[in-house]
């Protein structure tokens, strides 16, 4: 007999977890889905974001979310520089497929080793009033360290969705993924548009890093644990679909949470990837892919 309280808690926990997955995956969705850049180094930028937040939280007591927002322009700049190097070295020469992949592997290891050399390999956590506390709505308990990331992820999704749908540059970013030649004929420079888009993708990592270190401890090599999951979310959502990415993340989060609660946590990841395979069998382009 399934307890309704337990079911409600599992669904809520899954939605909150999904929100966090969405925040981590949005950058991949933009880079991989819209720009066709297989940035497998994205999770390491998330970890870099975690460390930036850790440093400011430890030194100045700055709230993790505020610190994450403060660092977004810096991460935007890093994203632009990384994309420029990638473009000049590989994309321009038409060598982006395999060599580009190796490039991002290289970036991943350089950032990881840099963090290890600078901060060591100990686990890092941040402090905030709401970490470890929870709210209760009847039988449903909500952990604030999961609620806050979910709310931030919803806002981030909304902002990105509106930016891509309503602004000139946003529409240009969507256009560059469809037909960059047509965009050039319209007088826009696809490379500059991609600069902006990749910068935004990496800027999201700053906020995602803040959310990650709020949820649990972080160390430099943890990034690899997220590579599979973020790409799974981006693919399930439909390449480049911001709303689809959020929905896919919530589906995977709820699937994991329900499995953990009722069938044992060891099946959780297998079930969520099973959901991905099933969904792709029915809709190969993902939930909102065209």
């Amino acid at each position: 007999m399934v307890s309704l309280d337990l079911l409600a808690n599992a669904v809520v926990a899954g939605i909150l977890l999904g929100g966090f997955y969405a925040a981590v995956s949005l950058g991949v969705s933009i880079a991989f889905g819209l720009l066709d850049v297989v940035n497998i180094a994205h999770p390491v930028f998330v970890i870099l974001g975690s460390y930036a937040v850790y440093v400011t939280n430890t030194a100045f007591g700055l709230d993790p979310i505020v610190a994450g927002i403060v660092f977004t322009p810096v991460f935007y700049g890093i994203g632009v520089v990384v994309y420029r190097i990638y473009y000049v070295s590989f994309e321009k020469k038409g060598q982006e497929s395999l060599r580009g992949l190796v490039f991002f592997f290289g970036v991943l290891f350089i950032v990881e080793v840099g963090l290890t050399l600078k901060y060591g390999v100990d686990y890092r956590l941040v402090e905030a009033q709401y970490i470890g506390e929870s709210l209760r709505f009847g039988p449903v308990g909500i952990a604030l360290r999961l609620l806050v990331p979910c709310v931030v992820a919803v806002l981030l999704t909304l902002v990105l969705y509106l930016y891509l749908a309503k602004t000139f540059v946003g529409r240009a970013i969507k256009a560059v993924s469809q037909d960059s030649l047509a965009l050039r004929l319209m007088g826009a420079d696809p490379v500059k548009v991609k600069d902006v888009a990749f910068g935004i993708a990496i800027a999201t990592a700053s906020l995602a890093g803040a959310l990650l270190i709020m949820i649990g401890p972080v160390e430099p090599s943890m990034n690899r644990e997220y590579i599979g999951r973020v790409f799974a979310v981006a693919v399930l959502g439909g390449m480049g679909s911001i709303g689809g990415t959020f929905l896919a993340a919530v589906i995977i989060g709820v699937a994991e949470s329900l499995t953990s609660t009722f069938f044992g946590p060891s099946w959780a990841v297998a079930v969520s990837f099973g959901v991905l395979l099933l969904a792709l069998a029915v809709r190969p382009a993902g939930l909102f892919g065209s």
Binding site: D5, D122, P217, R229, S260, G264, P265
Partner: protein, 425 residues
């Protein structure tokens, strides 16, 4: 005539010198002069276990410094030869082959952790080497190799003895708790520990109401904790690595899990990084440990060692407390060093025989090994977090915050029972 007498006297002196050297056994040392005794190992300096691996290396370097300051071993300095195993078992066989065949080390010792000791075992067994191990759980169970010695005080039946103490503490409570929830990560250590825990649960007559593992990359532990809470077990035993430990403690706090005892085998609650972030949320947790700064565990040399370790730890970016692994990394080299001194030999077989029979004085106390190379008697401590009010690191250097409950010989306080009573203090 006088000339002949002088020659006779000189030859007599040479003969006496040779005889003395041979009798004292120091001929080899004198012949080899200052050539160092090389001790080789792989160590996790990058990757998942690097936090501990680097801390262990600092301790080992302190030991080498101390030994060399006192004139070395058998009159020879010691030299550590080491490579980064990257926390990857696949790198270990190559490292040990290189240490033995290229670097020509005199002895090898293990790197840190079960998963990195296991791949070295076939090589050391094939070459009949003495092999002190650093925190491997039940690595010798399959081989029963006579040259293996494990410094971790898990006891003669490592998996069972490791987990026994937590349930022993539970079984002594009145009324005796009845039901148990077991949970751990899908990884080598938690699997071994869970197997041992099941045996202890059965032996002590508890009933298992939840028994599950979770993937190591689990992000949210609240569904697991809620599922456990729904079954209302008396005891919750968790076997986890540091990120999961933080997740479980936070989730237990958020969900309001209130068993009579909570803890068991959570790795991470021995390190400053987690202790200083979890702070008062730790109160009431009963967990394993190997050394804590309680008056009952102040062995000669430990405080001096910790002071020197802590001075180096900050710049190395490793655990600033150093209570968990570093003293043991120092101690397993103390054992090897004392065995070489005791036998005055570099012969693997002779040194191994000596380690098997002798008792060693180390900074973690007296050490004696059983026939399978594990400690003759378990000295896994169960400690309870008590009276933690802040997240300040200094409090964890003082007694009274991690009170030893078990074994009796080292007991320094009493259990606050049930768990919820310690939580509200």
């Amino acid at each position: 005539m006088r000339h002949r007498t002088r020659w006779r006297s000189a030859w007599a002196n040479v003969g006496a010198l040779i005889g003395t050297l041979l009798l004292s056994g120091s001929w080899t040392a004198a012949a080899q002069g200052a050539e160092p005794i090389k001790i080789g190992f792989g160590m996790a300096l990058t990757g998942g276990l690097a936090a501990n691996g680097k801390a262990a290396l600092i301790a080992m370097q302190l030991w080498a410094e101390d030994v060399n300051k006192k004139g070395g071993i058998l009159g020879r300095p010691v030299e550590l030869v080491y490579y980064d195993d990257q926390t990857k078992g696949a790198t270990v066989p190559g490292i040990y082959t290189k240490l033995l065949d290229v670097d020509k080390v005199n002895f090898v010792v293990s790197g840190y952790g079960t998963n990195l000791i296991a791949p070295a075992m076939p090589i050391v067994i094939e070459r009949k080497l003495v092999f002190p191990g650093l925190f491997g759980l039940a690595n010798n169970e399959k081989y029963n190799y006579a040259g293996y010695f494990q410094i971790m005080p898990a006891g003669p039946r490592p998996a069972v003895d490791w987990t026994a103490t937590y349930f022993e503490v539970a079984a002594r409570q009145t009324p005796k708790p009845q039901t148990v929830a077991l949970v751990g990560a899908d990884a080598e250590y938690p699997h071994n520990a869970l197997a041992g825990a099941r045996e202890n649960v059965k032996r002590l007559g508890f009933k298992v109401v939840y028994d599950s593992t979770y993937p190591p990359n689990t992000v949210d532990f609240t569904p697991i904790v809620r599922a456990i809470k729904a079954l209302d077990p008396d005891i919750v035993a968790v076997y986890s690595y540091p990120p999961d430990t933080a997740g479980m403690v936070l989730a237990a706090h958020e969900v309001g899990l209130r068993p009579k005892m909570f803890g068991g085998g959570m790795v991470g609650l021995q390190f400053a990084s987690l202790l200083t972030k979890l702070g008062p949320k730790l109160n009431g947790i009963v967990n394993y440990d190997f050394w804590v700064p309680e008056p009952t565990l102040r062995f000669p040399g430990i405080e001096d060692f910790l002071q020197r370790y802590q001075a180096k730890a900050a710049s190395a970016g490793v655990d600033p407390l150093g209570h968990y692994l570093p003293p043991w990394a120092y101690a397993y080299l103390q054992v090897l060093g004392q065995a070489i001194e005791g036998t005055k030999s570099l012969d693997q077989q002779i040194v191994a025989d000596y380690i098997r029979k002798a008792e060693f004085d180390t900074i973690v106390g007296k050490v004696r090994f059983g026939s399978n190379g594990e400690w003759l008697q378990s000295r896994v401590l169960q400690v309870q977090f008590q009276g933690i009010e802040t997240t300040d690191i200094e409090q964890f250097k003082q007694p009274g915050k991690r009170v030893v409950l078990y074994p009796e010989k080292f007991k320094s306080g009493t259990l606050i029972y049930p768990y919820s009573k310690a939580k509200i203090q």
